[in-house]
């Protein structure tokens, strides 16, 4: 692509990636979640791939496939973490550990540390969506017919 497209992509792609990470990270507090944030981040990957060409992305198919499997397995494993009580029981909530801060009584603006397993599940879904949608765009660009122009 032209130098204008490349410069704009270089400036704006980190912002899109950061917004996608924000939407995934705050999935249990604000609108959005793993799927929405993953779609936003994957659109940043598509922007980079289209503006800078697909030549340097040839070896990334296997890592993306691995990341997609990892996201799905992590989601199911987090669901089985609470199997002693019920499937998908939030065992990390209010446990004092990772994302396990107790929720203070009364109204609050939404505290990031109180989600339990929900932020981890959002990250698993987000990883799977980034890898899946990114590999769709990359494979469509890498294979198929030659460029017409």
């Amino acid at each position: 692509m032209t130098v204008v497209v490349r410069t704009v992509a270089r400036i704006i792609a980190p912002m899109i990636l950061a917004f996608g990470g924000y939407v995934i990270m705050h999935g249990h507090l604000t609108p959005g979640g793993g799927f929405q944030g993953g779609a936003v981040a994957a659109s940043a990957l598509a922007l980079l791939a289209i503006s800078f060409g697909f030549g340097r992305w040839k070896g990334i198919k296997a890592p993306l496939s691995f990341l997609e499997d990892l996201g799905a397995l992590a989601f199911v494993a987090l669901g089985f973490l609470g199997i002693g009580y019920t499937f998908f029981r939030n065992v990390l909530a209010a446990s004092g550990g990772l994302f396990g801060a107790p929720v203070p009584p009364g109204p609050n603006p939404g505290l990031l540390e109180t989600g339990g397993t929900l932020p981890l599940m959002n990250w698993a879904v987000g990883l799977k969506v980034i890898a899946g949608l990114g590999s769709v765009v990359l494979l469509l660009g890498l294979f198929g017919g030659e460029d017409d122009r």
Binding site: Q36, A39, V40, S43, I50, V137, G145, D148
Partner: protein
Amino acid sequence: MTLWGVLQVITLVLIVAGAALAVWLRDLLAAVIALAAASLLLSLEFYLLQAPDVAIAEAGIGAALTTAIYVLAIRKTRRKEEE
């Protein structure tokens, strides 16, 4: 009519205009851009209807990724639609 209603009517008319333009244009790249504009306005309409969750998904999938996939497909085939 309130400002909210006026904004909604303008957005819906522009969505229909963008979709009609996407059908009418013979240059496929221009048609894809018209479709992306209609999709972005649709995500604005979802936001006006107080569904920000759907709006983020529509902006990510409909406006960005679908456009990227169409642009890649056009790059590998012909740009002009034939009669």
